[in-house]
Point group: C2
Chain length 129, copies 2
Amino acid sequence: MPSKKSSVVADAAGDVWNAGCPSRRVLELVANKWALLIVPLLRGKPRRNNELLRKVGGISQKMLTQTLRELEQNGLVLREDLRTVPPHVEYRLSPLGLSLSRTLMAVDRWAEANHARIDAAQQAARARA
Amino acid sequence: MPSKKSSVVADAAGDVWNAGCPSRRVLELVANKWALLIVPLLRGKPRRNNELLRKVGGISQKMLTQTLRELEQNGLVLREDLRTVPPHVEYRLSPLGLSLSRTLMAVDRWAEANHARIDAAQQAARARA
DNA sequence: CAGTATCCAAATCGATACTG
DNA sequence: CAGTATCGATTTGGATACTG
């Protein structure tokens, strides 16, 4: 009989764990705090550059642009230039981006729900050390 | 009447979006590819250093140790030294880490399920540029 | 408003050599 | 086996100044 196909997580040969697999690129695209913050923020209404700059605490214009461009290049974010004067540009999620946003929102929520526990654990570790 | 308390995502003042909020630290802890790969790998059985080194494609000893220590310090991973000769050390998830692993697995799975779409979008973008 | 361009300090990370 | 220590190349990212 053929060996049972194990679940991806049980056996690491699966996919993202394999450097070089295309899914690893996607993981790296997503594994950064600005993407983790921006993508969920883009749900619902489209957002403008300055708006994002204000809402994403601590981000610089450089990183905002860079992250948005990267997300756009990978089909997650759509950029719409209304071609007005003064300029008005809107960013929103593509359907694919919307799908991703559900997953990333879960990460954000986990962070918010558990930061107290993490902080406590860190305190305890520091006390030990 | 009091203004309706908006959902965290609808209004960014919430939490992770606020630089300086403790939950942001948690986000940064998790927003890195090695954590995203290691935490889900630790589900089920405990894993050893060399085992992880092999399973997590592309990671170096340095990054493995560094990531494990960081996760340990924050209460997500438990390190057990069996104190044998030759050394035998096992890493496993704490209950908190197990909780996180469910969220992170979803990210990994999304990457695996959608990398073809992302690749296609990127191709298209390149063709355009 | 919505960016781009540039400089440069700091953080990241792999490779290598070494230890208990 | 399970690390630590160190060096140096690369990357990252903020600040600042400028553009259409």
